[in-house]
Symmetry: C2
Subunit: 372 residues, 2 copies
Amino acid sequence: MNMGFLGMCSVQQGSLDYRVCGVITSMAGQNKEKKRYTIRDIAEMAGVSRSTVSLALNDSDKINAKTKAKVMEIVERVGYRPSAIARSLVRQQAGVICVILPQIGHVVSDFYFSESLSGILDVVTAHGYHLVVEMATPEFKTGKKALALYRQRVMDGVLCVGNLTTDTYLTELAEAGCPVVLVNSVLGNLPAIIGANRQAAYRAVKHLAKLGHRRIGHIRGSEFVATAIHRTEGYLEAVRALGLEESDELLAQGYFDRESGYMATKWLLSHSRRPTAIYSVNDMMAIGAMDAIREAGLRIPEDIALFGGDDIVLAQYVTPKLSTIRQNMYLIGQLACERLFDILKDKHSEVYEEVELELVIRESCGANKSSR
Amino acid sequence: MNMGFLGMCSVQQGSLDYRVCGVITSMAGQNKEKKRYTIRDIAEMAGVSRSTVSLALNDSDKINAKTKAKVMEIVERVGYRPSAIARSLVRQQAGVICVILPQIGHVVSDFYFSESLSGILDVVTAHGYHLVVEMATPEFKTGKKALALYRQRVMDGVLCVGNLTTDTYLTELAEAGCPVVLVNSVLGNLPAIIGANRQAAYRAVKHLAKLGHRRIGHIRGSEFVATAIHRTEGYLEAVRALGLEESDELLAQGYFDRESGYMATKWLLSHSRRPTAIYSVNDMMAIGAMDAIREAGLRIPEDIALFGGDDIVLAQYVTPKLSTIRQNMYLIGQLACERLFDILKDKHSEVYEEVELELVIRESCGANKSSR
DNA sequence: TTGTATGCGTTATCAA
DNA sequence: TTGATAACGCATACAA
């Protein structure tokens, strides 16, 4: 981690002149292992058979109202709930969706994680399913943990958030029969919901072009991240379609973090004819670009315009505020999850769907100056 | 939402001159419902009984090595994995821990969510359990969904992240016999892991006092959030212990967001003798305080010092950078989860444990100027 | 309305 | 000693 970017910062561990810290043990002793009733217990208490209880629980009309009421009264009184495990066993489905997340450290943009999870969770809950979370660690991938999970019937289907284009463990999983939907990524012809990044990038570049920019630099991202690839494609398409300057000197490589954005920008500025605007694949690199631009003694609205991507919270707090591409991860998560349930229900064919993204144009980052 | 604070910002929906957007359907047709083997299938294929297969799977020594090898060869070849559902049924435990999260919108600080979840997930995985996620919506609480989940045997224990002090649904759950551990909160005498916020706040105030501040304002948070209560207690203890000025005029009420921090600070500054430093219970309100301080024509390092709490990412990006209290949510999540497994194993007595927090002293927010 | 088989793995018991 | 048999855990579907 590059602490240089974080500025001077000292961290103080606790001093000894305060004594709250420690362990306090209380003996109130709850958790006294209350009995959990089974359908047998209820049947006995009601003086009926287990099947009758089952019918009552499922509000069947093959049972007379009085019996049903009597059973349900007991059910409510003792707080009986049928075992989800036993139910899963007969129904031959777990009632569980698994979401595979990138390793936390890699989840750069603030909302990516929480928003997509939120969208997924809402849909999963609405379908009466549960959501289990797994993390795509190297061991998880190479150990084929996902496949094991499916074969163990732990889950009925999988959502994968922001996987790499090299994650073949997912295609294997799908080939084994497990429904898989990708959230904001692409892999083979697996069903996927993803933002229309080509389109958004195209429009970002077009926006800069409209302001008079002809020489627009670009900081691309890793070659294994589909959204980044698409954005770079959109940039290239726009450059060609709009007849802007096209050159290798305008194409820098970054790896999504601030440091690499800084380095990429230094490189872009090192050429004799430097760009008048820079479109970065994500916000963090654009923030790194700010560092490099300032270091070169250039002013950001006046000398170089900036455009980022992802609309992380920081984008509105840096000075100048960053123009960027907003991806509605909540929506993407929701849609992906709905798609998964479609597949779960009637074994749909694969679907690759793009969700429109918004441009967020903020003042004073140069993306709204028609200076040239 | 107060857009005023976010600054001017226009959002552009897609134009029509680009045509990527849409749905592309491919017919590759995976998901062809591969057969999932059961222990019966394996037994037949190996020409042994089901119990023999079970013994082989569990690497028992009551079975001769050759038979075991033969069975396992088949198991590996066809990729058989015993059903977690059937296993759960006989073992009488789900092998699932449930984490209840606050509603996403309320999870203000960036890392609170992802870091604690990450710590929990690591421990849950290490114990061979699975993690299901639920969100503490109003319906979830009032509908006693957690209790139902426990009675349905969906989960063996519960971790709750950042609950309110009014969430009695959790005590009910615990009284029904479900092991519950609170992550960074307090409720009755439920087991809990929480940061040593009193201590940290005390040290933050002491730090300001050492720099010469005698009149330190404080922005408190909601009365239902334990961590905020503790910090305010720590502030008060420090004020008394160090003989600083104590006054109602120095105690402002906020609700964790930028807007209320702004309002609280305006109020603090409205009194004839304004504070020379402000300690806010969290960072977002401290950032709101910056707005108010600047609006009042005051300079932040020189006229008023600032100290926040939580160490959100933003804290290092605002100008000046914020001094703050860092809570290691990864660690707190881990510890809480370990505690839960302790309880699961031998029905421990309740434990309330505090984890030491760090002060993060950053340049130029006034918390390092010994000006007076 | 109820008895019974089913789903799948584990374990105690019993036979070879 | 090794392996086969049966009962168990819990809810549901279906025939009786």
